[in-house]
Amino acid sequence: MKIFLDNCRTTRVLPEVAQVVLNYMTNNFARPDGLYESAQEVYDDLTKAREFFAKSINADSGEEILFTSGATESNNVAIIGVARANRNKGNHIIISALEHGSVMSIASQLKNEGFEVTVIPVDDEGFIKLEDLERAIRPSTILVSVIAVGHFVGSIMPLEQIGEILSRQSHKIYFHTDAAEMYAKFPVDVKKFKVDLMSVSGHKFHAPKGVGFLYVKKGTKIEPIMYGAESFDKRRPGGENVPAIMGMKRAAELAIENIDSSLSNLRKLQEYFIDKVESQIDHVILNGPRGEGRTPYNVNFSFRFIEGEAISLALSMEGVEVATGSACASEKLEPNYAILAIGGDHERAHGSIRFTFDRFTTKEQIDYTVEKLKSVVSWLRKISPIKAGR
């Protein structure tokens, strides 16, 4: 038995989606910029796909959708593009402490270019405090970037209230959100959130890897970060990954069709999982919020007195695949920043395990996971020199 519970890292491509991808690889393989019928067909399909994605987030027009290679590229284009294009207005950028690693890296690059970056903290559940945001805003602030759903601890950020605060300011502050963990899982409305830019990644909702999009509200002052020959969309040079884009469209259609039932099923499953672990395993800490403020796709526990790399490796030997926030499993040997950001210490980060679901996760899989988790945790605690009460 293999149970994949690392769906926040990536998801499997659904067969229906793979069929579409295959078709655009082998049959409708033309590029959209040729002057012949098969190219025209692809051009029309891409145009319809853009319109579909625009509609799916309540944007005004397909032209506000820019296809990219995924959320990392979308984040780069959005943040660097807006920062550089608006440098004459100011050099201050605000991000949250729970941003994806790509946003953190982009912010550090912009610092090298002379921008100032404020990282607003999160509370012990992983929410930013709106008063901290208001305090951080300066006359020189040009952009705020806040992740829609924390990918480690699952907190759903108050995008609507952030958008409201930013729209009240006397000068324009662009609002970007990395919605990789929100799009196709929750209803998304760019008008309600008052966002100017939004990053989306296909492989988080059963599309192939290497495709995503960026919503760029009409009128946004943004510079390209790549240069080349114009293709379908002059804002991003190079040939579009047509098969992946069309696959992402099919994946989004299927996810959005099932969005409400997936949310309610997973909410029950998440509560069941949390209850079961908390009642059957001692010395566990739930990282992140409980209830409505947390995405039902995520559960993150720290198991005290033991280390996460060993837990995840032992679980993997039992067929359960999960992620850990332990320093030992990171390339930089640093404990997970999200656990530290919500006030956890190093031990809590090292012992943290993230379980992330997709809409196909079942109760049977959860039961199996908890059984294996119990034996792995009890074995590792038995061999650990650190014991409860010491």
Partner: protein, 133 residues
Amino acid sequence: MLKYTELVMDHFKNPRNLGKIEDASAQATEGSIACGDMMTVYLKVEDDRITDIKFESYGCAANISTASMMTEVVKGLSLEEAKQITWKDIVERLGGLPQIKYHCSNLAVDTLRKAIKAYEESAARSVKDESLS
């Protein structure tokens, strides 16, 4: 996920000499929870020879497997021979470790050396005590 050799995985799954020695001649703990690696080594020493060794580990698979291999290597060695064992010997016996995991492999040997030192210090003290009495 980092790639481990089959032997590393075998020592992780079935660690040798795991646990405590209740009447240990010496024991030592190295590392810290904050660093994510911690280990206790228990020694049974007779006639300057390690007749038994056991360990407990809080740490990753590299930590557990290097500790396990270290105990296999030093069991039966004289203290002087055991002191010569290096982290490199252990890693080689395991068929290698990802480079980023080298620091974890140090802990097994560091803890062993600390335990030997603790034994030697207590042995020196008891010799001194005997000469005083």
